[in-house]
Amino acid sequence: MKTTRVIIVAVGGQGNLLASRVLGEAALIADVPVRMSEIHGMAQRGGVVESSIVFGDSESTIISDGEADVLVGFEPSETLRAVNKCNSKTIVITNLSPLVPFTVSIGKGVYPDLDVLQKLIQEKAANLIAFNATTLAREAGNVMAVNMVLLGALIQTKTLPLSSDHVKEAIRTRTKKDFVQINVTAFDLGYSAAQAVSKTENA
């Protein structure tokens, strides 16, 4: 089976690990081989959380620079920071709602301009799907559902050996009962948003 390598980057607290977990469970449901790895040291202290999910025939759980097939960023500057994981064929999906690092708040560093950021990624990767996932999460009923919105977008790209149904099934069985409805709505909103973005690009 073909190997598909996905990197998810986020800021601690954005739900990266749950998103990865849902993908893993969906793979188990779909009977697709899956291996994952995460670096979450001090996530709760505002650091970066990176996870890698490898589908198909691979023993490795981590992904080398330039070898990700898909990069999903829950925060735009973190997406840009992780571009070293991409190659010219990588699909990049990013939230456009910044979480400004504290270093910028205290005047040590400048947050990248969002238009420049998108242009840079577009030039380098095969495809960029960028939209405000935070707004959609709020629309779904909880700002914490950013992770599910982006999963929706990820599945829409059809780069993974998983269907919407697999992922929704995983959401239903593996996320907290009280949030299932919001999470599924968020997933659908992300799916449609990615569809809309690709349509505009093709037009």
């Binding site: 490795s60 330039g66 504290f102 947050y111």
Partner: protein, 617 residues
């Protein structure tokens, strides 16, 4: 029911490496588990802690790794299967009992799990603990995957019982923090009642006994070597002449590389999962069929050096390489691309790696270092110490915990650190050889772990420094584990005692002891100033529950503050405290109400009194 207790053999579930290890122990019928928490091992014991609430497993958070191993060693010597879990540097602390436990041996299985941390994702060094196997004369086993980790734990228990020796199981972060599908096995019934028969001339290593026991250990090591020869965890794949020897996660990268490079027929892989003692015969036979050999192992050239020695014994002259120019390094962790490249280079395979993107036009992206949480009381204490020490030339020995993040500007309150508890011992040295004011910081859990003996030393030898104990009522850094100072009633757990830090400090004989509430800025500064002016050993205990923990327990009470129109932009708040709840909008400091915990520390240092609670609307 806890998910690791489900009794559905054959079912496939997704587990984190650390969950898989805990499940392996449960399947092996572990009856006693002990630990001192440390990343990347912490989730193993967190799961034991939870499982123990609903099963016959006895689990404890011990005060440090040495004690944890001693508890487990005794339990195992009463015939009860025991496991002791720690991060790699924890084994340094446990090394003293470990090396003699190897002489004494065990009556039931004892597995010492060491979680090594190549690349130092959350550690102060990347020591390779396979050497503890060599040093202690104990077997070492190492899994390559999440699933194998579960399989290896029962194997380790059986091996330990066959040899009558503790077994070291060594993982790395990429096993502990990887996730994969695991097939559940049968759960063995727990036998938690031990039986002790006196046998002092085998269990009290006075010299005459120890001389006998050392010989016994060497005999056991020979037995272990024979077992390693036929262990299912040492195996060969392929029949080619290009030899590759690997262990741990490197095995996965090698498997992928061999497939990607299309060298299945040319190559022959020896995967070592039982890495001490190394299987002499198996390796010699392997080497004989190879043109040359590449050793792929993270960390030190542990296998490489032994392989070279074996080859020499056999009179083999084939090239054996691993660490070296153009191949592998002893630094950090490996990755699949790097292993693929090194194999291609070594065997002269035509291979062009995926072109890396040109990233030269990417602007500098602002760093996002982990930071003390909004409202963290350590930030307040650091500010107060700084104020109290104004005008003094200071040295700030620090210790291991969240508060090590005080190294970051603008706090910059960390100067020197070696290991758990070193803040106290090093303060003794600094205060002896300099005239600077030495002010050390240590957390509550770390104080219990290994700060106490340093403090006893300080009182006895009459040193001169101030120790600030940052007591936030939990072991915060590793995920809020209990420690001896914690009120366990908060968790509705009743079988625990509680040790008062202040009583310990006074009992040691420190005569100047003050307890402060760090959210009260002025009072705290005054109290600290007094402590700093004291000639001799003084201790300040800063008491405030970890803000993150309080939130989790739903006992956080603070209401958010805001910067009002009275602000004249002095920015003392931002420049001195730098709480992550601050941000700047239109050149004015603002407070994010979602992040503010209402600690009111910034409000107390604002010269205009411009920071006030948000009025209820």
């Amino acid at each position: 029911m806890h998910k690791l207790l489900q009794d559905h053999p054959g079912q496939k579930i997704l587990l984190l490496g650390n969950e898989s290890i805990a499940r392996g122990a449960i399947e092996a019928g572990v009856a006693v588990a002990t630990t001192y928490p440390g990343t990347p091992s912490s989730e193993i014991s967190m799961n034991f802690f939870q499982v123990a609430q609903e099963s016959d497993l006895y689990f404890e958070y011990s005060t440090n790794e040495k004690v944890a191993l001693e508890v487990a060693a005794a339990a195992a010597n009463t015939g009860v299967r025991s496991m002791c879990v720690m991060k790699h540097v924890g084994v340094n602390v446990a090394a003293d009992p470990l090396l003699t436990l190897a002489y004494i041996g065990v009556k039931a299985g004892l597995v010492l799990l060491t979680a090594d941390d190549p690349y130092m994702f959350s550690s102060q060094n990347e020591q390779d603990n396979r050497y503890y196997g060599k040093l202690a004369g104990l077997p070492v086993i190492e899994p390559s995957s999440v699933e194998e980790a579960k399989e290896m734990v029962p194997y380790a228990f059986d091996l330990s019982e066959t040899l009558g020796e503790p077994v070291i199981m060594r993982t790395t972060t990429r096993i502990n923090h990887s996730t994969g599908p695991v097939v559940l096995g049968k759960i063995k019934k727990i036998n938690s009642k031990g039986n002790y028969t006196k046998d002092p001339f085998n269990q009290v290593p006075i010299p005459a006994v120890a001389r006998k026991l050392h010989k016994r250990l060497l005999d056991n090591l020979e037995k272990a070597e024979k077992i390693a020869e036929n262990s299912p965890h040492n195996f060969i794949i392929g029949t080619g002449a290009w030899g590759i020897v690997c262990n741990g996660v490197s095995y996965n990268y090698v498997r992928d590389a061999v497939r990607d490079l299309g060298i299945k027929t040319e190559s022959k892989i020896l995967r070592i999962g039982f890495s001490h003692p190394l299987p002499l015969r198996l390796i010699k036979d392997f080497l004989k069929g190879c043109e040359k050999v590449l050793v792929v192992e993270e960390g030190e050239p542990f296998m490489e050096e032994t392989l070279k020695a074996f080859a020499q014994e056999e009179g083999l002259t084939l090239k054996i390489n691993g660490k070296g120019e153009g191949l592998f390094t002893r630094l950090y962790e490996f990755n699949p691309g790097q292993v693929r490249q090194s194999i291609a280079t070594y065997y002269g395979i035509d291979y062009t790696p995926k072109a890396l993107l040109d990233l030269s036009d990417i602007p500098e992206i602002p760093q996002r270092p982990p930071n003390l949480c909004p409202g963290c009381s350590h930030r307040a204490t650091y500010h107060e110490v700084k104020m109290a020490a104004k005008g003094m030339e200071t040295i700030y020995p620090t210790d291991i915990g969240c508060y090590t993040l005080g190294i970051l500007p603008p706090l910059s309150m960390a100067d020197f650190l070696l290991c758990m508890g070193s803040s106290v011992g090093t303060s003794c040295g600094f205060s002896k050889t300099t005239d600077k004011k030495v002010i050390a910081f240590i957390g509550d859990s770390t104080f219990f772990h290994s700060g106490i003996s340093g403090l006893v030393n300080a009182v006895f030898n009459n040193h001169n420094f101030t120790l600030v104990i940052l007591d936030n009522g939990t072991t915060a850094m590793t995920g809020h584990q209990p420690n001896p100072g914690v009120d366990m009633n908060i968790l509705n757990l009743s079988r625990y005692g509680r040790v008062s830090i202040e009583a310990v400090v006074r009992g040691i004989g420190v005569s100047h002891v003050t307890t402060i509430k760090p959210y009260k800025v002025k009072k705290s500064i005054e109290a600290i100033r007094e402590a700093l002016n004291y000639n001799g050993v003084s201790v300040v205990i800063a008491e405030e529950i970890c803000v993150l923990y309080a939130k989790q327990l739903k006992i956080a009470k603070g209401k958010p503050f805001e910067v009002t129109g009275k602000c004249k932009n002095h920015r003392n708040c931002l420049n001195e405290i730098a709480c992550p709840a601050f941000y700047i909008r239109n050149d004015q400091v603002k407070i994010d109400p979602d992040l503010c915990t209402g600690c009111a520390v910034c409000a107390q240092i604002c010269p205009e009194n411009a920071i006030l609670p948000i009025k209820a609307k």
